[in-house]
Every structure is written in structure tokens, then in C-alpha cells.
């Protein structure tokens, strides 16, 4: 394994598969009464979040604690960044504490790459700008593998704001690596004009999810309204929202996924989100196992 996990593009198929398999074995640990392993006792991790996050941060923190890491949380509001310190100086300061892992989220694409080249610590990308969110893609892959037995040859539709979604970008890289057929579905305003190679693009959601084995809904950021990406949440839901009727177009046992937090009634109807086909809460559980696996493997 490389020193850092900043991009799925850096990983071979074997490395990707081994992260997923390791995560599945950590999942067994999480089912035990005592959910902690002493794997990384004495090591230190800092969670360096330059962007507000509750879910991802909590998930990482829990994963780290399950691995017996010492955890430091460094959030922007209380940091020296607001005092004018440069990103690099912040990282160097943190490194001087003697940390072994830096989990970083930043609103600028490329920050984890920038940091990784400038620190001895292992850097884990917890989301950079609109670029990547690798651990989300792994947890999605784990969820699919668990439910479907494999990923090779599956039809996976990713629906919504593709343009601004690091989740979509990482999933495209990860799923294509694992042999899935990926479709991107959404309004043309929220679709890259130059989509990644190897995907099929659909503006018509009915066509886009027809026969799909997996439907991944993305969160619509409400602040995009009024910025000419779509006219209204009503119109968005009408054409690109997942409702029960539309879900019929997919395979009978299609999985419904969402990285959270959901906007019920905007990108996904409540009855679909709560349906037996929905694996949204399992994604959350798998997130912990995946983050344990990633940090554990960077160690080795």
C-alpha cells in the first residue's frame, strides 16, 4: 500500500479489493461485544477538518478509536488558520506533535495531495473540494459487494448533482476499477460537459435507471437553487427525484443508496428512502469498517 490514501486513481485493483475485503473482516469486529482492537495502540491520528462535517468526522473518529489510536481533533473554527496561518504551517505544526496519520477534509480540491507530499505522516483524504471522497466510494463498494455478492458487471446509476460531487467522482473511479457499468444521471447543468471516460450519461432519469442494479442518489445542495443549476426543488424532484414509481424501472432487487444527509422529497421520496431496498443506514455502518481498514492498511 502507498503511504497515503489521497486518490482512488493511485490504487491498483488488488489494493482496492484488499481494502474492501479488510473492511468486511473489520465489520466482524464491529459485531463483537468488545468492538475495539489493539492494532494501532500508541499511534496518533489527527482529524484535520477545514470544512464542517459531522458524519464523516464521527465515522473516522469512531474507526480510529476502534483501532486504539490516540485521536486529536483539529477543527478550523478553533485553529490558528483563522489567525492567518498558512495551510502548510498548520500541517508542519501538527506534524511536530508527532502524529502518524492525518485525516484531512478541505473545501479546495487537491489539498490532500499537496499535504501528502510535504509530511512524513500518512494522509487520508476525507473529502477534498469537488474532487474525491475515497472512503465514501469504498464504503459504497463494500455495501454493494455485501448485498450483491460482487460488483463486476453490475449496472450502477449515480443520480443528481454529478458536477459538484466528490462522492460521484470517487465512485466512478472505484466502480469502474471493480468492473461495474456506471451511468451518470442528472440535469445537464449538473453534469460535467466532459464526463469521465467509460461512463454513460443520461439526462432522462427514467432511461438512466432502467434495469439498474444499484441506484446511488446524491445530495442536492439547496444553495445550488437560484444559481441556475435547476429552476426549483419541485422541478428537480419531478425529473430527477427517486420515487417509488420510478424505482420500478430498475431491477426488482435494485439497491437504493444515498451518502447522506438526505433531502426527503427533493432527491428521494420518503417511502423509497425507508423501503426494504434502501441500504442507506448500512452504508453508515460500513463507513466505520472501511475507515478502520484504510488506516490499518496504510500502517502496514
Amino acid at each position: 500500500m502507498p503511504k497515503d490514501l489521497v486518490s482512488i486513481k493511485d490504487l491498483s485493483l488488488e489494493e482496492t479489493e484488499s481494502i474492501i475485503d479488510t473492511a468486511l473482516s473489520f465489520k466482524d469486529v464491529l459485531k463483537r461485544d468488545i468492538k475495539k482492537v489493539p492494532a494501532l495502540r500508541g499511534k496518533t491520528v489527527v482529524n484535520l477538518f477545514f470544512e464542517p462535517s459531522t458524519r464523516t468526522k464521527t465515522s473516522f473518529e469512531l474507526a480510529e478509536k476502534r483501532l486504539s489510536l490516540d485521536v486529536i481533533n483539529f477543527s478550523v473554527s478553533s485553529s490558528s488558520v483563522v489567525k492567518g496561518e498558512s495551510l502548510l504551517d498548520t500541517v508542519r505544526t501538527i506534524e511536530s506533535y508527532g502524529v502518524d496519520y492525518i485525516v484531512i477534509r478541505h473545501s479546495s480540491s487537491g489539498v490532500p495531495h499537496f499535504i501528502a507530499g510535504r509530511t512524513r505522516a500518512s494522509v487520508v483524504n476525507a473529502g477534498d473540494g469537488i474532487n474525491e471522497h475515497p472512503t465514501q466510494a469504498f464504503l459504497d463498494a463494500v455495501t454493494i459487494k455485501e448485498k450483491k455478492g460482487g460488483i463486476q458487471g453490475l449496472e450502477v446509476a449515480i443520480v443528481g448533482d454529478i458536477l459538484h460531487s466528490r462522492v460521484a467522482r470517487s465512485n466512478v473511479d472505484c466502480l469502474i476499477k471493480l468492473g461495474a457499468n456506471v451511468r451518470l444521471v442528472g440535469p445537464p447543468t449538473l453534469m460535467p460537459l466532459h464526463p469521465p471516460a467509460g461512463v454513460r450519461v443520461f439526462y432522462d432519469m427514467n432511461e438512466g435507471i432502467r434495469g439498474a442494479d444499484v441506484i446511488m442518489m446524491l445530495r442536492i445542495q439547496l444553495e445550488r437553487q437560484g444559481k441556475c443549476f435547476f429552476p426549483s426543488t419541485k422541478e428537480f424532484f419531478r425529473y430527477w427525484g427517486l420515487n417509488a414509481e420510478r424505482l420500478q424501472l430498475a431491477e426488482k432487487d435494485a439497491l437504493v443508496m444515498h451518502p447522506g444527509p438526505m433531502n426527503r422529497g427533493i432527491e428521494i421520496a420518503s417511502d423509497v428512502a425507508d423501503s426494504p431496498q434502501s441500504v442507506i443506514l448500512e452504508q453508515v455502518t460500513n463507513g466505520i469498517a472501511v475507515r478502520m481498514a484504510v488506516i490499518y492498511m496504510l500502517h502496514g
Binding site: P187, P188, T189, L193, D204, C228, F229, F230, P231
Partner: protein
């Protein structure tokens, strides 16, 4: 009980099917049942074989007339709701029928603007109840035509809007226009651009040139139109969205569209009769009836527009029918609103292009029927069997004098008063309903 209409002995011209020949047309139940060209004996046989149970039969003798699809105007202002004193859907569609038009596409600059499904539904319901012709509304691109937030173009399409435009209030923000063109790709409708850079047209009221200096009126340079067309063409190229350029008025605009088409960019264009019939000279004497936006241009521009029509650069002749109240046009030139009441003169003015050898009669009809219909994705503008029975029977040789007082439109604002023109629709059939124009107050 079905009605049958038989139009006999006319010269049938339907560019969509490549038909130009003598023949008969049979209409039943509001649809084209049969088109029989060149074989009148076959027509007689066919009539003998027609279903005998239809008693309500009207036979129209079209000897010496041109029988063509009802015209499609993709750029109309019907003013309702909000400006009923200028025009209503009723009077506007009556004027349209008189002019040979069976499909009108009203622009959204009403009050309230047609920028939401509720107003769109109002226009459509009103047209169904009171309209003589079919009405296919054009919705606003942005809410309130403010150029900032996209209107619910998808939901409005479901109601019946066929294209989107912020006509008269061009989308100045390039990013908004980009998004509109991108968004349109999901639904397939065209974005119609009134191309005018408002910062360049400023407070201009006529074409900028020696004549505007002579008259002391503020000018609108051709560049105001051409800069915007350039931008929109580049955005169409970037996004792959369908762009339709409204009312092309300058040589440069024609050349930009021609080049874009040669490059394979998805762009179509229209012009209006006043841009190839008259020039800025019509403004002399400060005649507000010749105030129009974009402004009337020069002889050279007229020449270029005719060339653009001839070589196919300009796909469509639309009216930009813009009725105003007489009181509004009786104002200072700077304050009078822009626009010409065009539905009742458009066909005759366009027929002069045939006399001048600019277009064949078939190509002219194409630009007023199937071309706009195809751009908007309508099922109109053709006499194909099964099509909605929209037919115009034109007495192409008949002369008349333009007398605005006799317009059926409420708008009497025309610079063509007193012109002697040729070409009068005698009978117009809209959705199977017969209008005998000769019987109307003319």
C-alpha cells in the same frame, strides 16, 4: 358526426413532402385524410369510395389558388394576460387567421410574464376557449424575465410551452445563458435569443449610422446585435444546446449564423418581413410606426438578409407581431414602444421575395411552415395524411392596399400603411374549422 372538407383543383404546395402540383385535399374529422396530386381522375374515384355516412360535406373550389399548410409564426406577441388593450388571444389569433397563420407562438412578456406553469396553463386554456388558431406559448427562460434564475422550463413544457425566450429582455449574464442552453438539452426545446447587448444598445432608438446623426436620434449599433449573437453561438457550441436566433437584422448577424452553421453548431435563425422590406429610412419624419427592436437597418443589411434567406442561413420568416395601442405610438419617438403589427401583412410582404427571385414559392412556404414547426418540434406546418387540418388557401395574384383600420388585430401600428401588396388568403382552415376570409370585414 364527422365533417368532410374537400378542397378541389388547387395548386398544392407542401414543402415538407416535396409536393408542388395540382390536386385535391380531403379533410375528415379535423385531420388531413388524403392528398391527391396530379391525378384528378383518381380523386374522383376516391371520392366515390369515401365513407357514405358523412353528410356534412363542404367542397371548396381552389381553382387558381395555392393550397398550402397553415402558416406557423414562431414569434408573436398576443399580449394576454396583462395588456389586453393592445391585443387579446382572440383578436391576435383572428389577425393570424386573416394573415394565413394557423399556429402562433406568443412570447412570454405578458403581465404576469409567462414564466411559470400557471400562466402557461392560462394562455393555453384561453386559446382553446377563444382562439381561432392553435397557440403554442413560448415560456420565459428566467423568472420574471430578470435574467437571474431559471424558470420551471420542464414543468412548463409539460403544460405546452414549446420553446423559451426572454424576448426583449435579453439574458445579459453569460453564465445564465450557458445554464439555460445546458438545461434545455434534457428536454430538447430550443432557446430563442433576442440578441441585443443592452450595454451597447444603451438608450438607442434607431439604427446607428449617418441617418441617426442626421435625425439626431440615439443609435443602436449593429454591433449590439452581433456581439450577443457571437456570445450565444459560442455558448451553443460549448453546451450543445439548441439556439434559435430571433429577428436577425444585420449583415454581420447573417454572416455569424452562416459561419456557425458551417461549423456544425446547432443554431437556427429567423428574420421578419420588415427587415427585408424596408430600411431605416422609414424612420424619417420620426415615424414611430417604424420604431422596432432591433431597429430597421440599411440597404446593405437588407441585401445580406435576402442572401441569407436565399442560401438557407435564415431558416424562418416570423412576424414579431407586436401590437401596440395607438396612444402609445403617438408619443415622442424616444418614448414610443417598439414593434410592428405584422400578422396581416407578413405573407404578402414575404411573397415579394418570390417576385424578386430571392426564394421560390416553395422555399418561402417552407420558411413559414415546416421549418418553424421542426425547430419547435410541432406536428404542424405540413399537409401529411393524418396531420391536423391546418390549411391556407391563398389567392397569390390578388392585390390589396394595406389599411390598418381594417386590421383584425387591435394593433394598427404598421409602417406599411398604403402599400399595395399581392397575396390574400381566401379560406383558412384551422384544426378543421373553416374561416372564409372573404366573408370577414375586409
Amino acid at each position: 358526426m364527422d365533417k368532410r372538407i374537400i378542397i378541389k383543383n388547387g395548386r398544392i404546395i407542401d414543402p415538407a413532402q416535396g409536393i408542388d402540383g395540382a390536386g385535391d385535399i380531403i379533410i375528415e374529422g379535423g385531420r388531413i385524410e388524403e392528398v391527391l396530386v396530379k391525378f384528378p381522375e383518381a380523386a374522383n374515384k376516391r371520392q366515390a369510395a369515401l365513407k357514405p355516412n358523412i353528410r356534412d360535406v363542404r367542397v371548396i373550389d381552389a381553382q387558381g389558388m395555392i393550397v398550402m399548410p397553415g402558416l406557423v409564426d414562431m414569434h408573436t406577441h398576443l399580449r394576454e394576460p396583462g395588456f389586453e388593450y393592445k391585443e387579446t388571444i382572440r383578436t391576435g389569433t383572428m389577425a393570424g387567421i386573416k394573415g394565413g397563420f394557423t399556429s402562433l407562438c406568443p412570447m412570454p412578456n405578458t403581465n404576469p410574464a409567462n414564466d411559470n406553469p400557471t400562466v402557461a396553463a392560462f394562455v393555453i386554456k384561453k386559446a382553446m376557449a377563444e382562439g381561432c388558431s392553435s397557440v403554442f406559448p413560448i415560456g420565459a427562460i428566467t423568472k420574471g424575465q430578470q435574467g437571474q434564475e431559471l424558470a420551471e422550463m420542464g414543468l412548463m413544457q409539460e403544460i405546452g410551452c414549446v420553446a423559451y425566450s426572454d424576448d426583449g429582455r435579453p439574458v445579459m449574464n453569460g453564465l445564465v445563458m450557458r445554464r439555460a442552453l445546458e438545461y434545455s438539452k434534457a428536454f430538447g426545446f430550443p432557446i430563442i435569443a433576442h440578441c441585443e447587448d443592452l450595454s451597447l444598445s444603451d438608450d438607442g432608438v434607431m439604427n446607428e449610422g449617418p441617418l441617426s446623426t442626421y435625425l439626431g436620434l440615439r443609435g443602436v449599433p449593429a454591433a449590439a446585435e452581433e456581439v450577443m449573437i457571437s456570445r450565444d453561438i459560442m455558448l451553443a457550441k460549448l453546451t450543445g444546446g439548441k439556439l434559435h436566433v430571433a429577428h436577425v437584422s444585420t449583415r454581420g448577424a447573417v454572416e455569424l449564423v452562416r459561419r456557425a452553421k458551417n461549423e456544425g453548431i446547432s443554431v437556427t435563425a429567423e428574420t421578419c418581413p420588415h427587415y427585408f422590406s424596408i430600411t431605416e429610412k422609414a424612420v424619417m419624419g420620426f415615424d414611430t410606426s417604424a420604431k422596432v427592436n432591433p431597429p430597421l437597418r440599411t440597404d446593405d443589411d437588407v441585401y445580406a438578409i435576402k442572401n441569407g434567406l436565399g442560401d438557407g442561413t435564415i431558416d424562418v420568416i416570423a412576424t414579431d407581431h407586436a401590437p401596440h395601442h395607438a396612444d402609445e405610438k403617438s408619443l415622442e419617438f424616444d418614448r414610443a414602444p417598439s414593434g410592428i403589427s405584422g400578422l396581416e401583412t407578413a405573407l404578402a410582404l414575404s411573397l415579394t421575395l418570390v417576385e424578386q427571385g430571392v426564394l421560390s414559392i416553395s422555399d418561402l412556404i417552407r420558411k413559414m411552415t415546416i421549418n418553424p414547426s421542426n425547430i419547435l418540434g410541432l406536428d404542424r406546418g405540413t399537409l401529411k395524411v393524418g396531420a391536423v387540418a391546418d390549411v391556407a388557401i391563398l389567392d397569390a395574384g390578388s392585390e390589396f392596399i394595406v389599411e390598418p383600420e381594417k386590421f383584425l388585430s387591435k394593433g394598427r401600428n404598421t409602417p406599411f400603411r398604403g402599400w399595395k401588396l399581392k397575396g390574400v388568403p381566401r379560406v383558412v382552415i384551422s384544426k378543421g374549422r373553416i374561416f372564409d376570409i372573404a366573408g370577414w370585414k375586409q
